[in-house]
Amino acid sequence: MDFLNAIVAFANFVLVPATSYGAQLALGALGVTLIYGILRFSNFAHGDTMAFGAMVTILVTWWFQSMGINFGVLPTALLALPFGIIATIGLLLFTDRVVYRFYRRQKAAPVIYVIVSLGVMFIMNGVVRFIIGPNDQKFADGVRFIISARDFKTMTGLSEGLAIKASTGITIVTAIIVVAALFWFLNRTRTGKSMRAFSDNEDLALLSGINPERVVMITWIIVAALTTIAGVLYGLDKSFKPFTYFQLLLPIFAAAIVGGLGNPLGAIAGGFVIAFSEVTVTYAFKKVLKYLLPENLEPTGLVQLLSTDYKFAVSFAILIIVLLFRPTGLFKGKTI
């Protein structure tokens, strides 16, 4: 019984949250990796693009809520999501047209793109704060739990509860659908293949009649969808605050690099590696160990490797280890 309780406690505080966080990071990292593979730069504006997409979705959600439109047990935000995606597509294509295309024509060095994307980041950052403000926003509605801790306890008779939030379930299901659709697109369709070809060998792609502007456009469209979905899922799970999206940049980049930049499969793996490390290292294991160890050995401290304040250090540490020992990432990406 104690053993089961330990497992349930572990699942409740580590497994479930890390899976959901991992899925959100994976979606973010997929966008970063696509941009790196095709446009060949690290997009620092990624976090704030997520914030923008989430913001539009929240505004539409509020509007729907004010009109009494809802999605039953599911959050209204899912209904508003397509609007967020469309707005973000508009924003990214606009940015590409007025900013990035200029540098593409100049054949600018990647480092210039990175700095340019930093500028874009500050602008998006400002736009989001200007429209919705810097504060926390709540927009989740619908059912809150798939299983609540109390239900789980009465169901199983265990003293530990396992709560699965609706947002967790939605995150995982959505992530699976999105990833499946993306991989189908990249591997099965001609357009997707031409994107892979472009990423593999740009010169040859051009000489094979692949239109670079079209590839770039489709990349931005996919990235807009990925960022908005990731941003909304993260907001549903935690809450929406522009600054947290900026902070997400680090774990997202860590995930993309750990997995191998430019490699979509790697981005997903990287997302989960980072999420699980972060949650495991910052979780206080006292509760789990209490069930496993004999009474006299029971830990007096929290058995927490790192305070949650330092969770970003985990991304950094993993990043450095990977770059030292396997610069191409877990899955072979491009060397950086």
């Binding site: 697109f185 369709t189 001609r190 357009t191 997707g192 293949k193 031409s194 892979r196 070809a197 593999d200 060998n201 010169d203 040859l204 792609a205 051009l206 000489l207 094979s208 009649g209 692949i210 239109n211 670079p212 489709i218």
Partner: protein, 258 residues
Amino acid sequence: MIVVEDVHKHFGGFHAVDGSSLHIKEGSITGLIGPNGAGKTTLFNVVAGVLKPTSGKVLMQGEDITGLPPHELFHKGLLRTFQIAHEFSSMTVRENLMMVPPGQSGETLWNTWVGRANIRRQEEELRDKADGVLEFLTIDHLADEKAGNLSGGQKKLLELGRTMMVDAKVVFLDEVGAGVNRTLLNTIGDAILRLNQERGYTFCMIEHDMDFIGRLCDPVIVMAEGRVLAEGTIDEIKANEQVIEAYLGTGLKNKVTA
């Protein structure tokens, strides 16, 4: 077919192509020879839209194509191969070939999601075509190999195969024969002749192997130091004093006069 008018290409102060003019006649197999560093590849890059010329013009069938991007030239029927073979390394050899053909209905974003049956049929046709090309080049056993794993010579064959997937008008071959063994060289030569005769391809090919040039090319253009030095049939070229001095060397001269 292709007219190059007084093209200059400077890299900083270095004049890689220094006022070249030439004319590639429709239906011909024109050879382009010259010493290493003569500017042959650079001239190809200018014609194929990879590099913008410092000055000068390139015309295709009377139309000014100077500075058009490579993918637009591709759709006009102008193809090239690379001196250092390029490939989509993470795709299989067959997929590499199937990547080439333009203007299919799979190309529009809308068609990606609807009309799958139509696309599947086209994919099958493409696949058959790719397999035919691979068989012709005697590398059909490598169809499912990742292109990145091919040997240097096999990559050259793949380069040539790429030009056989579409109906090109004019193809620029940059040393397709280099690093390929004798028997295969003959196969490549046959392929070029057949494409020229049966499908009406115009070729312009850079090559260092004089026998290979002699077998296929008429006329032959000689470049040296960024300029066109001479033009004529292979025998005329071999007898040309200037060419012998700049490129062929006296060994050949003795052979020719003997």
